[in-house]
Structures are given as structure tokens and as C-alpha cells.
């Protein structure tokens, strides 16, 4: 195994910057907040840069996804419980307005990430690898150490859940809702 690694080309640290944006977005999808995403990306790069890495040609991004996933799980273990923000009306997931991001677009993005955040870990990882980082299903399977068939199924279900979360239609009918009559407001008192 060691000899195989020696044969692989060395990961060029100066090329890492080109993956920063997508890795940050993938981290945001995993963590559910941009603050945690920044920390996760920083820790991932710190680990990757700690020593020379051998990565197969064109496999930088998949390697980084694997490193991101390992760091993510490592942080989960060390935190014992994944910290999650509790939204209140005065402490909501405000989106930082950047000069090049329209506020309405930023709000939409924030909602997409919030919908992704409600997915199970495995679904988030698959979605982050394929739809955010842009890996092929095969690369994602390798990076996440999961069979490719499982990855595709997780992707399907993750996408389905995200779209339904974001749907403008009412959610589950069991959700308690205030009911109103169509005529006079006799049921509203």
C-alpha cells in the first residue's frame, strides 16, 4: 500500500485555493451554519497541509471531500453532540450580505442550506459530494467509503427531501393549522 502511495503524484498545496469555494459550500451543507463551515474548512486544510499528501491524478477534490468528511466526523465525536442553532424570531439564520450576493438570493441560499441541514448526516454527505462539490458518483463513493449504489439512492432521497422542504405548498397534513371557514368566521372565535 505504501508503495502505491509513493507512486501517486504529490498534492500541490498551491492548487488548494481553487477548491476553497466549493469545499466551503460543502462544509456549510454539512454543518448547517457558515461559522461552523469556516471552522471545518480551516481544520480540514490544516490537517491536509500537515504533511505531504499523495493523490491520484485529478483526484484532489475527491481527496478533499474525504478529508472534510473525516474532519466533520472527528469534530462530531469531540463535541459529543452536534451543536445546532435554535431559531427564534430575534435570532434567526440571518444571511450575511456580501457585495456580490443579492439579499433575496442570499435568503434563498440560506433556506436551501437549512433544508439540507435537516437531512440525515449520510444524505448531507452524499449531496455535498455530488451536487455541491461536483464529484461523480464513483468519486463520491470512493471519498465517502460507501458503495456507489448507496450513494445514488441517498442522492435521490436527499434531493427529494430538500425540494419538499422548500416547497411553497403546505407541509404534512398532520401539522396543526388554524382552520378557517369559507363563509362567516364562525369557526374562528
Amino acid at each position: 500500500m505504501r508503495s502505491i502511495h509513493r507512486a501517486l503524484p504529490r498534492l500541490d498545496p498551491t492548487s488548494l485555493g481553487q477548491h476553497l469555494d466549493v469545499l466551503y459550500r460543502a462544509a456549510w451543507a454539512l454543518c448547517g451554519s457558515r461559522e461552523d463551515a469556516e471552522d471545518l474548512v480551516q481544520e480540514t486544510f490544516t490537517r491536509v497541509l500537515a504533511r505531504p499528501r499523495n493523490v491520484k491524478d485529478g483526484g484532489d477534490r475527491a481527496y478533499l471531500m474525504s478529508a472534510l468528511r473525516n474532519t466533520f466526523y472527528s469534530r462530531l465525536r469531540s463535541n459529543s453532540r452536534r451543536p445546532r442553532a435554535t431559531a427564534t424570531l430575534d435570532d434567526v439564520d440571518a444571511v450575511e450580505s456580501r457585495a456580490n450576493v443579492q439579499p433575496e438570493r442570499a435568503a434563498e441560499v440560506s433556506e436551501i442550506f437549512a433544508a439540507i441541514d435537516r437531512l440525515p448526516d449520510e444524505f448531507r454527505l452524499a449531496l455535498a459530494a455530488v451536487d455541491i462539490l461536483g464529484l461523480s458518483y464513483g468519486e463520491a463513493a470512493e471519498a465517502l467509503d460507501t458503495p456507489e449504489a448507496t450513494i445514488t439512492t441517498r442522492i435521490y432521497r436527499a434531493r427529494q427531501r430538500v425540494v419538499r422542504e422548500l416547497s411553497d405548498e403546505p407541509k404534512a397534513p398532520s401539522r396543526s393549522k388554524v382552520r378557517e371557514g369559507t363563509g362567516p368566521d364562525r369557526s374562528l372565535a
Binding site: T46, L49, D90
Partner: protein
């Protein structure tokens, strides 16, 4: 495949996922498209996949500049030394125990603010009013695209003929001693409901959220769980439109419905 599929577990999930993002082999694409034409349920499932692909893959938020600078420094130094943690991270960090104390303190303040009759009304209270059940009959049109209900001299809009939302009821609350009037609207399908609340008096304090300006008027968009709201000022009074399962786009469309095109 003549029968419409109703159970997702029968769907070729992997193939639909691949078809949606273009990674399904061309030969199989043809076959699957034929199946899609025979099954509306399958077609809907594909549409969901395609929608998710377009939404998620369109996210283009860049990494923060501070993180980019840090990485540049690290990669430049990498050949000489091992990477260092960022020394001048601009975001303030709070230790978790301290954060817990801070959150508890904020929660205590919120409880006091909600229960105190002398405090100013909060956006939280106004939003609760907008989500509450109505207690009065539906207002009627009073002409000039307005309803026969007003607060602080502002008449509530009549939306039935403009954006297709019908007034269904109303309520009046006293929030920290201030009058707050709410009119409830439903869309024509009857599936979505919003409450339009006007809190009279000085502006209600608004924390955070996303600010957007339309027709020169600043609006703030906020979310808490399923609830989304838009808030802005009209003649100095605070207006809030809030609903559950309603998008920001819809809320903004309603908030700006009465403005000139």
C-alpha cells in the same frame, strides 16, 4: 408500466437521480424517457430531482475573504513549516460555557420583555399576532383597493383582484399597550395563509434578517422554523406579513402589491 406508480420505493431511484443530473448513459436515457411518458408519478419524481439539482448546484456563495487569505498564507508557508491556526480570525469566538450563560441571559430578557406590560412590543409578538386565529369576520372592500379596516390611519389592502389573496378574518391585539390590528388573507386555492399585522406607534425593533429595498422602501425578511415574515414601515408604523410555508418571494409580492409598478 401502464399503471401510474404511487409508491416511491418502486421507482428506479438511482436512474432518476442520474437522469436529472445528466450522468445516466444515453442508451438508458431513451428507455427511461419512454417510461416517464407513461407514468406521471415517475415524471413528477424526475421533476423533483431536476429542481433539486438546479437549486443546489446554483449555489455560488464564495468562501469568506479571511479564510481565503489564511489558506494563501498557509500554502505559501507550507514548504517551510507546518500550518498554523489563523492568528487574526476576525470573528469573535465565545467559549461554549460562556455562550450558554449568554443564551440564558438573553432568554431571560426575552421572557421579561414578553411578559412586561411597560416594554415596547417586539417583532416576535407582532408575528404571533399575524399567525394567531382570527376573532372577527372578514373585512369587506371599501373601494380604492382597500378594506374597511385600518390601523394608525393605514387602511389594509384589498388583494383579491390584484394578487388573488382574499381577506378571511381579522383580530385586534394590545401589544405592550399598543394597538395591533391584523387581517388574515388566503390565496385562491385556500392552501396558504398570511397575517398582515400593523403595530401602531413608534417602529418595532428589528434584529438581524435580510434587508432588501424595493421601490426605495427597506424591507426585512426573517425566518424562524416554518415561519417566514417580511416587515417594513408605513407612515412610521410597523407592518408585518407572516405565514408558514410561504416563500419570501410571495411575502415580498404581497408587501409590494399596492406600490406603483
Amino acid at each position: 408500466m401502464d399503471e401510474e406508480m404511487t409508491d416511491d420505493s418502486q421507482f428506479p431511484e438511482a436512474e432518476l437521480a442520474r437522469l436529472a443530473d445528466g450522468s445516466l448513459p444515453a442508451a438508458r436515457q431513451k428507455e427511461l424517457h419512454a417510461e416517464l411518458q407513461r407514468s406521471p408519478a415517475l415524471a413528477r419524481a424526475l421533476a423533483e430531482q431536476e429542481q433539486a439539482v438546479s437549486l443546489v448546484r446554483a449555489i455560488d456563495i464564495p468562501a469568506p475573504d479571511s479564510l481565503r487569505r489564511w489558506l494563501q498564507e498557509q500554502t505559501q508557508e507550507q514548504t517551510q513549516t507546518s500550518p498554523k491556526r489563523r492568528r487574526s480570525w476576525p470573528r469573535p469566538r465565545i467559549a461554549f460555557p460562556a455562550l450558554g450563560v449568554a443564551v440564558a441571559a438573553v432568554a431571560a430578557v426575552v421572557v421579561i420583555a414578553l411578559s412586561g406590560s411597560n416594554s415596547a412590543p417586539t417583532l416576535d409578538q407582532a408575528t404571533r399576532a399575524a399567525l394567531a386565529p382570527s376573532t372577527m369576520p372578514a373585512p369587506t372592500e371599501s373601494g380604492a383597493m382597500t378594506l374597511d379596516v385600518s390601523a394608525g390611519g393605514i387602511q389594509f389592502p384589498y388583494w383579491e383582484h390584484t394578487v388573488g389573496w382574499e381577506a378571511k378574518g381579522a383580530r385586534v391585539d394590545s401589544l405592550a399597550g399598543r394597538k395591533a390590528v391584523t387581517v388574515f388573507y388566503r390565496d385562491m386555492d385556500g392552501t396558504r395563509r398570511v397575517g398582515y399585522t400593523i403595530v401602531t406607534g413608534p417602529p418595532v425593533h428589528v434584529n438581524g434578517g435580510v434587508r432588501i429595498t424595493s421601490h426605495g422602501i427597506p424591507y426585512t425578511l426573517k425566518r424562524a422554523g416554518e415561519t417566514r415574515l417580511v416587515t417594513w414601515l408605513r407612515n412610521g408604523h410597523t407592518c408585518v406579513i407572516a405565514g408558514q410555508g410561504v416563500t419570501y418571494h410571495t411575502l415580498l409580492k404581497l408587501a409590494t402589491a399596492d406600490l406603483p409598478a
